[in-house]
């Protein structure tokens, strides 16, 4: 499965990438929202994991763009910091499928990805 990960914190990005690769997924990574938008068009990922606060373009804009695309529905998992409940609600309103709050366990993320990919 091809997964796009958009996260601006290098350690988190690398950890998520390695964890998902360990699970056998193909992973595309980006550290900013603008590049994530380009990667969505170019790579057509099967699942997107995006941070909310990112340079150039936020996670919410990415969700908005993906949901505006016609055709298949790409599952989206949102990464948010503690205390961003309002933003998470907005993400769900825009069409996010799941969310995970930082600090989080990479193992938990892996399970959530499995769950979403099985139900998709």
């Amino acid at each position: 499965m091809k997964i796009l990960v958009a996260e601006d914190e290098p350690i988190m990005l690398k950890t998520i990438e390695l964890r998902l690769k360990k699970d056998g997924h193909e992973v595309i990574v980006t550290d900013n929202g603008l590049d994530a938008m380009k990667q969505i068009d170019a790579e057509l990922p099967d699942l997107i994991i995006t941070d909310i606060m990112m340079p150039y373009s936020s996670g919410l804009e990415i969700i908005g763009k993906v949901r505006a695309l016609e055709g298949r529905k790409i599952p989206i998992i949102v990464l948010s910091a503690m205390g961003q409940e309002n933003v998470v609600l907005e993400a769900f309103n825009l069409g996010a499928d799941d969310y995970i709050t930082k600090p989080f366990s990479p193992n938990e993320l892996s399970i959530r990805v499995k769950k979403l990919t099985h139900s998709a």
Binding site: I11, M12, P103, S105
Partner: protein, 368 residues
């Protein structure tokens, strides 16, 4: 004669040229120093970025380790690589590594966080942080306390604990939050001995830390409610309120007679949160003997827990000169009796300010 003219008359042309050379040399030296400093800083920043990238790879490997054997092998590999690259003895390298480990530990939880802490200990980085803890600079000390707590270094708790009553507010604040982060309610034993106060911000941080996966242990709270340190009493009341500790009703009631009005206000809020049959009469008695600013808090509490037996103490407040008291008393009366609203309408003159506004507002609150 002006100083400039005096200078021009007394300095000859040759001396003037010499002085010019001196100025030019100074300017060249200053510009050279700035250029060298900027170059040095850019090189240091570039190296820092390079190190961050390298460490993020290592830390991520650690974070995804599953099982003790894989973790030990990864720790060994990373340590060997760092040694080979000469980074174990490099001061800047170690500093960046500790910072990156803290960043990762703050963003991760569960096994990933434990793996990162295990590496920090195995690499002997905790000893570097402990040496920084002995520093005379408050910011270095505070940062080292933060590092130890974020990386879950429980084995060094005694060294952090001794700073919980440090004369520097920022150091003791970090230490207090750190011991609670590491050991939960057990860490609160510093409340038995501290002489410096707990600030409002510290209290909020401590309650926040306690709410995160720490099993509650309330056995010391009665002692803190009787502490000589007012801020400790305030914090203990905050705990009673947050955790709704019904068993401590008697101890909280004792605080209603405290000398400080701020403590009595907190005690009223706490006793309201652990409402029991004796709470309403207790508040009614308190209302009669309190000063104005506490009376308002008591009236608000009676709006939640008051009973019809307490109406007699509430009626006089409808004639209070301040509207805010009128509202609080009216709300308490409305909530204390099934016919409270009807009784209010009979008692007040609906044509008079502020009742012609307040009564419809109170009725609307019931309907909402």
């Amino acid at each position: 004669m002006s100083p400039l003219n005096y200078f021009l008359y007394t300095v000859g042309p040759f001396q003037f040229v010499e002085l010019m050379y001196l100025f030019i040399s100074i300017i060249v030296l200053v510009v050279g120093f700035i250029a060298f400093y900027l170059f040095y800083r850019a090189r240091r920043t570039a190296r820092k970025m390079q190190l961050r990238l390298l460490y993020s790879e290592h830390i991520s490997m650690l974070a995804i380790c599953e099982g003790e054997q894989e973790l030990q092998e990864t720790i060994y590999d990373i340590h060997a690589q760092l040694k080979q690259q000469g980074l174990t003895e490099d001061e800047q390298g170690r500093g960046v590594l500790i910072k990156e480990l803290v960043t990762a530990a703050k963003s991760m939880s569960g096994a990933a966080k434990e793996n990162i802490s295990a590496f920090y200990r195995a690499a002997g980085l905790d000893q570097i942080t402990l040496s920084q803890l002995k520093s005379g600079a408050w910011h270095v000390k505070s940062r080292s306390i933060q590092t130890l707590s974020h990386l879950g270094q429980k084995q060094h708790i005694a060294k952090i604990y001794r700073h919980t009553n440090n004369r520097n507010e920022l150091i003791r604040s970090e230490a207090r939050v750190a011991v609670v982060k590491l050991t939960g309610f057990q860490g609160l034993r510093f409340l038995d001995v501290i002489t410096y106060p707990l600030t409002e911000w510290e209290q909020l941080c401590l309650v926040h830390e306690l709410s995160e996966n720490h099993l509650p242990d309330f056995k010391h709270i009665p002692d803190w409610l009787h502490s000589d340190n007012d801020s400790v009493v305030e914090f203990a009341l905050r705990l009673v309120e947050s955790y709704r500790i019904l068993e401590l009703h008697g101890d909280v009631a004792f605080c209603l007679a405290h000398g400080q009005s701020s403590i009595r206000k907190k005690a009223v809020q706490a006793v309201r949160s652990i409402n029991q049959p004796q709470t309403a009469p207790l508040l009614a008695t308190q209302l009669l003997r309190e000063e104005e600013d506490v009376q308002l808090v008591v009236l608000e509490a009676m709006g939640e827990v008051g009973s019809e037996n307490d109406l007699a103490v509430l009626w006089p407040f409808l004639a209070h000169p301040r509207t805010v008291f009128k509202i609080a008393a009216a709300r308490a009366i409305r909530n204390s009796h099934p016919y409270g609203m009807a009784m209010l309408r009979q008692r007040v003159d609906m044509e008079v300010h502020p009742w012609y506004i307040l009564i419809p507002q109170l009725e609307e609150e019931v309907n909402a």
